[in-house]
C-alpha cells in the first residue's frame, strides 16, 4: 500500500483535479486506487459523480467513532473508490481539527483500519498551504506530489513547501520522495516558460518531466461531474495526466528515490 499526498502551496492551482484525474489514469493502468479527501471544500467527490445530497464522510465517521470504511464509495469510473470529507457544520469542523491537533496519528490509524489492497494506491487530497490536514497527510505519505502553477506566486512559496517536506517527511525511512507537478501550463506565455525553466533548474529531477497544460476541458469536466478522461478523452490535459501516470508508475515500480 503506497500513500501519495497531493499538496499545494496556494489555492486554485487545480490540486483536486490533478488528484482525481491522476487517480483515474493510474486505476486504468491496473492499480487499485483509493482517493481520500482531507480538504474541507469536500469537492473531490463531485469530480467522481457523487450525489451532492449525500453528506456522509470521514469527519462524521471520526466524530461518531465509527470506521472510515463505511464512508468509502465506489465511483462509476475505472474502479476508483473514494472517501469524501463530508458535508459538515462549522462546529463539527472545529472539533475534527482539534482532534487532528491532539492525535497526530489519527489519519494514519484510520487508513490502517481500511481494507488493504496489495499494490494499492491511496491518494490524499489536502487543502492549500500548511494546515493540520496537510501535516497529517505529510506524516503518512510515502510520496508527496506538490502541484504548482507556473506563476511567480507559486514559485515564491517553494522555500516554505521545502520546509514542510523537510519537517514531516525527510527523516522517515518509508518516505520515497517529493515531486513537483506544473499545472495549467501555457507555453504561449513567456512568463510560464521562464518559470518552468527556472524550476527545472532549481528542482532538477524533482520536477515531473511532464507538465499539465492549461485546458478548459479540465474545469468543464467538473461541471459535468466526470473525470476529465471521460469527459474529454482527447484533450491535451488528459494526455499530460496519462504521461504523468506512466511516469509515476515507473517511479513507484523502482521504489522511489534513487
Amino acid at each position: 500500500m503506497t500513500i501519495i499526498a497531493v499538496i499545494s502551496p496556494k489555492g486554485g492551482v487545480g490540486k483536486t483535479s490533478v488528484s482525481v484525474n491522476l487517480g483515474c489514469a493510474l486505476a486504468e493502468k491496473g492499480c487499485s486506487v483509493r482517493l481520500v479527501d482531507m480538504d474541507p471544500q469536500n469537492a473531490l467527490r463531485l469530480h467522481l459523480g457523487a450525489n451532492p445530497a449525500q453528506t456522509g464522510g470521514l469527519v462524521h465517521q471520526t466524530l461518531q467513532h465509527q470506521e472510515w470504511q463505511y464512508a468509502e464509495f465506489d465511483s462509476a469510473y475505472y474502479g476508483v473508490s473514494f472517501i469524501p470529507f463530508g458535508v459538515v457544520s462549522e462546529i463539527e469542523r472545529i472539533t475534527f481539527e482539534s482532534q487532528l491537533g491532539r492525535m497526530p496519528n489519527l489519519l494514519h490509524d484510520n487508513l490502517a483500519s481500511l481494507e488493504q489492497m496489495p499494490g494499492g494506491l491511496t491518494i490524499i487530497d489536502t487543502p492549500p498551504g500548511p494546515s493540520v490536514y496537510t501535516q497529517q497527510a505529510l506524516s503518512v505519505a510515502n510520496l508527496v506530489l506538490v502541484v504548482m502553477m507556473p506563476d511567480a506566486g507559486s514559485y515564491a512559496t517553494l522555500p516554505s513547501i521545502e520546509g514542510l517536506l523537510q519537517y514531516y517527511c525527510a527523516s522517515r525511512a518509508d518516505f520515497y520522495g517529493s515531486y513537483f507537478i506544473l499545472n495549467q501550463f501555457d507555453a504561449s506565455h513567456v512568463l510560464n516558460r521562464d518559470i518552468k525553466s527556472v524550476m527545472q533548474h532549481d528542482l532538477g529531477e524533482r520536477l515531473a518531466p511532464f507538465c499539465v497544460h492549461r485546458d478548459v476541458s479540465m474545469s468543464e469536466a467538473l461541471a459535468f461531474q466526470q473525470p476529465a478522461k471521460r469527459y474529454a478523452p482527447y484533450s491535451q490535459g488528459v494526455d499530460d495526466i496519462e504521461h504523468l501516470a506512466t511516469w509515476l508508475n515507473a517511479l513507484l515500480g523502482r521504489g522511489g528515490r534513487d
Binding site: 507555453a187 504561449s188 516558460r193 527545472q200 518531466p209 497544460h213 492549461r214 485546458d215 478548459v216 476541458s217 474529454a232 478523452p233 482527447y234 484533450s235 491535451q236 490535459g237 488528459v238 494526455d239 499530460d240
Partner: protein, 791 residues
C-alpha cells in the same frame, strides 16, 4: 551457437547485414582458425601460400574447358557462392568477391581468346566495340569491389566539454538565382546551429547581388557578401568570400540544404583530433523525391541514385583516405583550403577536384555517414539530367587535367578510388553498346561473339549472376539490384557526349545551375528528353520483329543464336521501358514539399480547449495533423499549435485549412522572425530529422530488383501508349482549331477536309499525326533544358 542462416534473416536487420563484421556459424569459426594459424607469421610460408594460391587462381581463370566441363564448373562455383552467401561477415563478402572476380575474369579471358571474330569487317568492328565495352564494365566492377569492400563507418568524435576550446567558424551559403523562399530556412537553421554564438558567423554569398537578400540578411543579422564579378561560379564565389572572412573553419551549405542543429558538433570533433584533416563531408540528403522517385512512385522505398555514393562509396573511400568533397554539407579547414589555392576553378566539379588537391599534398579528408542536412532534389528529369551532365563533364575534365593515375602525392588506393569515380562517368558508350548490340545480329546477321549461344550462356551466366549476387550483398541497402541499369540507361546518351568532349578538350565546360523547387502542373510525357530512349526502343522493337521472322523463317538453322539475341533484346526493352516511365513527369502541385514528420503536437482552440494529437507531415507553410477523433475542430478554426523540442515547447498561430475525416491540415499564420526560426528548429533542423529515413524499406534481393524494374517498365509502356494516343488526339484538336480559324477568315476548303467523317478522315488524321510525331522525335534538338550560367 547463434547462426544467421539466411541472407534474408540477416538482411532484415540491414545494419547487421550490411555492417557485416558480425560473424557466426561453423564456417566463420573455420575461417577464423585459418586466419589465426601461426604459419602466417613466417614470411616464407606466407609467400609460398600466396604464390601457390595466385597460381591456382590464374589457372582457374585461364584453363580452357569444353562446354560440358565449363557448365559443370560454373554450376559448382555458383552453388558454392549460393551456400556461402547465407553467412554474414566481411570474410564471406571477400570470398564472394574472389569468386565473382574469378568468374568475370574467366569470362572475359574466354571472350578475348576464343570468341573474337575478325573474319569479316562488320563482325570485327561490332565485336571489338562490344568486347571493349565489356572490358570497361569488368574494370569498373573490379574497382568498385576494391572501393567498397570495407566501408569505414566513422563515428563522430566528441567535442571537448570546455566550449572555450571550440574554434570559430564561418558558415557560407552561396546562392545565385534561387528565390529567397528557398534560402531563408537554410539561413535560419544555420544561425541556430548548436555552437557558441560568438564563434559562429553566417554569410550569404549572393552572386545575384539582390537587394531583397541584403534586406533579409540585415533583418536577421547575418552578413550579405557580394563580389563585383561572377567568375568561376560557385567556386569563385566561395574563394572571394574566403578572402574577406577569418574563421578557422568554413562550413559550406548549398542554399537549399538545411542543416540540422547538431551538424557542427557532429563534425568538428575530428578536426580537433587530426590536425592534417582538411575536409569532412556528410551525406547530401534529399527531403523531396528526385524525378526517378517521383515519376516511378518509389520515394523512400527504393534507394535513390545518390544513395549508393553517400551510403557506401564515400564510406569505402574513407577507409583509404580518399573521401571526396561534394560541394555542400561539408566543413573545411581554412588553412588547408587556402594552401591548395581555395576551391578549384579549373573544372566544373570544383568540389571533387579540391579534395584531390588536398590529397596530393598529403592532407586527410573524412566522411561521416549521418545525414545532418537536407535539401531539395532536382525537380524534373531534364534538370536532373542537366546536373548529371555537369558531374560527368567535370569528372572527365579532372581525368584530363589532373589525372589520378599520374598525379603526384597520391597513394595507390587513392588513385584507384579517384579513377573509379571518374571512369564511372564514362559509362555512356558502353551502356548504349549493351542496349544495341543484339541488333547487330537481328538487323545485319553480324556474329559478334563467335561461338555457340550455349557456350555464351555457360560463361556469361555465372559471370553476371555472381556479379549481381555479390553486389546485392555489398550494396543492397543502398542500391537495389538492376536499378543501376535503369539509372545508367536513362543518362547514358546524355553524358557520353560531354565526357567525350571533355576528354578531348577539358576547357569546353559550362556550369549549369540546377533548378529546384518548381511545379509540374499536370502529368506530361517529356518527349524531348526521352528521344534517345524512344529511338533505342524503336530500334529494339524493330529488332524484335525481325528476330521473330528470323526465328521462324530465315535463320532456323541457328535457332540458339536467334533466341539468345531475342532474349537480350527483350531485356533491353525492359530497361528502356523503365526509362520511359521515368520520363513521364507526374504532377507536382505543391510548391512546398511535404516531409513526413511524426511528432506529438498540441492544438489549442481559441475557446481554451486543447487536443493532444500527432503530426503526419510538415511543409513550409503548414502542418498535417492526425486528430484522435473526427470533428474536434472545424474548418477555419483559429488555433495555437504547440510543437515540442526536448523539454521546450513552441507555440505557433494558425488555422484549420483542410479537413478529411480525422486528418486536418493546418496553415500557419504570418510568423514573426523568432517564430520562423523556432519552426525550422522544431522541424527540418531537428538533430534526428533524417535518421529513420530508410526504415520502411524493403530488403534487396536480386530477383525482386528485376521484378521492380519489370513492373516500372510495364507502366512505362502503358504511359507511352497513352501519351501517344493523347498526342494524336491533341494534335487533331489543334488541326481542327486551325481549320476553324481558317474557315472564319474565309478559306472554307481546308475546313472540309478536317471534317471528313469515317475511315478516310481517321486515316487522314492518323497519317498526319504519325508524320508529326516522327518529326518531333527525329528533328527536335536533343539538348536538355537547363539553366545555363555562362561566363
Amino acid at each position: 551457437m547463434i547462426r544467421r542462416n539466411t541472407v534474408e534473416s540477416a538482411a532484415t536487420d540491414a545494419h547487421v547485414a550490411y555492417d557485416g563484421r558480425y560473424v557466426y556459424g561453423r564456417l566463420n569459426r573455420l575461417a577464423k582458425t585459418v586466419l589465426e594459424w601461426h604459419g602466417w607469421e613466417h614470411r616464407l610460408w606466407r609467400m609460398a601460400i600466396i604464390v601457390v594460391l595466385s597460381l591456382l587462381y590464374l589457372f582457374s581463370v585461364t584453363l580452357p574447358m569444353d562446354l560440358g566441363m565449363q557448365s559443370l564448373y560454373a554450376a559448382l562455383v555458383f552453388g558454392v557462392a549460393l551456400y556461402l552467401r547465407r553467412y554474414t561477415g566481411t570474410m564471406f563478402t571477400l570470398i564472394l568477391i574472389v569468386i565473382s572476380v574469378n568468374q568475370s575474369t574467366r569470362y572475359l579471358y574466354w571472350r578475348f581468346t576464343e570468341t573474337l571474330n575478325l573474319d569479316s569487317w562488320m563482325d570485327g568492328v561490332f565485336g571489338v566495340i562490344l568486347i571493349l565495352a565489356e572490358l570497361y564494365a569488368w574494370f569498373v566492377l573490379l574497382l568498385g569491389y576494391m572501393q567498397t569492400v570495407w566501408p569505414l563507418r566513422r563515428k563522430p568524435e566528441p567535442m571537448p566539454d570546455d566550449t572555450s576550446l571550440w574554434p570559430a567558424l564561418d558558415i557560407f551559403i552561396p546562392t545565385y538565382n534561387e528565390p529567397l523562399k528557398v534560402v531563408r530556412p537554410t539561413v535560419l537553421a544555420a544561425m541556430a546551429l548548436d555552437w557558441p554564438k560568438d564563434k559562429l558567423n553566417v554569410f550569404i554569398l549572393d552572386d545575384g547581388r539582390r537587394d531583397e537578400f541584403k534586406a533579409f540578411a540585415e533583418s536577421v543579422g547575418v552578413r550579405h557578401v557580394v563580389r563585383d564579378n561572377n567568375f568561376h561560379a560557385k567556386a569563385g564565389n566561395i574563394n572571394a568570400a574566403l578572402a574577406n572572412t577569418q574563421g578557422e573553419y568554413v562550413a559550406i551549405f548549398d542554399c537549399d540544404h538545411i542543416p540540422a542543429r547538431s551538424f557542427l558538433q557532429m563534425t568538428l570533433g575530428w578536426f580537433l583530433r587530426d590536425p592534417k584533416l582538411g575536409m569532412l563531408q556528410t551525406p547530401h540528403h534529399f527531403l523531396s523525391p528526385d524525378p526517378f522517385e517521383r515519376n516511378l512512385g518509389t520515394f523512400r522505398r527504393v534507394p535513390n541514385e545518390g544513395e549508393l555514393f553517400y551510403g557506401l562509396i564515400q564510406d569505402g573511400n574513407d577507409l583509404w583516405n580518399a573521401t571526396f568533397f561534394c560541394g555542400s554539407c561539408a566543413v573545411l579547414r581554412r588553412s588547408i583550403l587556402l594552401e591548395v589555392g581555395g576551391v578549384a576553378v579549373e573544372t566544373v566539379t570544383e568540389d571533387a577536384h579540391t579534395a584531390l588537391k588536398m590529397h596530393k599534398l598529403g592532407y586527410h579528408t573524412a566522411y561521416i555517414s549521418i545525414p545532418q542536412a537536407a535539401g531539395l532534389a532536382t525537380e524534373s528529369l531534364s534538370a536532373h539530367v542537366g546536373q548529371r551532365i555537369r558531374w560527368a563533364r567535370g569528372m572527365a575534365q579532372i581525368f584530363r587535367v589532373d589525372n589520378p593515375f599520374l598525379a603526384k602525392g597520391l597513394n595507390f588506393m587513392q588513385r584507384l578510388c579517384y579513377s573509379n569515380a571518374m571512369l564511372h562517368f564514362f559509362y555512356g558508350v558502353p551502356r548504349m553498346v549493351f542496349l544495341l548490340s543484339p541488333l547487330t545480329y537481328l538487323f545485319f546477321e553480324a556474329h559478334i561473339i563467335s561461338t555457340s549461344a550455349l557456350a555464351i550462356a555457360a560463361y556469361a551466366l555465372p559471370h553476371l549472376a555472381l556479379a549481381n549476387l555479390t553486389n546485392s550483398r555489398m550494396q543492397g541497402a543502398h542500391r537495389h539490384s538492376f536499378w543501376a541499369e535503369l539509372y545508367e540507361a536513362t543518362l547514358a546518351w546524355y553524358i557520353f557526349r560531354p565526357t567525350m568532349v571533355a576528354l578531348i578538350n577539358p576547357k569546353l565546360g559550362k556550369f549549369n545551375v540546377t533548378a529546384k523547387g518548381g511545379l509540374v502542373k499536370e502529368e506530361y510525357f517529356d518527349w524531348e528528353i526521352s528521344q534517345p530512349y524512344l529511338i533505342m526502343l524503336a530500334l529494339n522493337v524493330a529488332g524484335l520483329l525481325i528476330g521473330i521472322v528470323r526465328l521462324f523463317w530465315w535463320n532456323t538453322f541457328e535457332l540458339d543464336t536467334v533466341i539468345l539475341n531475342l532474349l537480350w533484346t527483350v531485356y533491353n526493352m525492359v530497361i528502356l521501358g523503365a526509362t520511359i516511365a521515368v520520363a513521364t513527369e507526374t504532377r507536382q502541385l505543391r510548391v512546398n514539399h511535404r516531409v513526413a514528420y511524426r511528432q506529438p503536437v498540441t492544438l489549442k482552440l481559441k475557446g481554451g480547449k486543447s487536443y493532444a494529437c500527432r503530426t503526419t507531415d510538415y511543409s513550409e507553410g503548414g502542418l498535417g495533423v492526425e486528430m484522435p477523433a473526427e470533428n474536434l475542430v472545424a474548418l477555419k478554426n483559429e488555433l495555437d499549435v504547440s510543437l515540442f523540442m526536448g523539454e521546450r515547447e513552441y507555440v505557433f498561430p494558425g488555422h484549420v485549412a483542410f479537413m478529411r475525416g480525422n486528418e486536418v491540415g493546418i496553415e500557419f499564420a504570418e510568423l514573426n522572425l523568432q517564430q520562423q526560426m523556432d519552426l525550422v528548429q522544431c522541424t527540418l533542423a531537428r538533430a534526428d530529422a533524417w535518421l529513420d529515413w530508410s526504415e520502411n524499406r524493403s530488403i534487396d534481393r536480386p530477383l525482386a530488383g528485376l521484378k521492380e524494374i519489370l513492373f516500372h517498365s510495364m507502366s512505362g509502356f502503358r504511359h507511352l501508349l497513352y501519351f501517344m494516343r493523347a498526342g494524336l488526339h491533341g494534335l487533331s484538336a489543334y488541326d481542327e482549331d486551325a481549320a476553324a480559324m481558317e474557315k472564319s477568315i474565309g478559306a472554307g476548303k481546308v475546313a472540309q477536309s478536317s471534317e471528313l467523317a469515317g475511315w478516310r478522315g481517321r486515316l487522314n488524321r492518323a497519317t498526319k499525326n504519325m508524320v508529326l510525331l516522327g518529326r518531333s522525335l527525329l528533328l527536335k534538338p536533343v539538348a536538355p533544358r537547363v539553366v545555363d550560367k555562362k561566363f
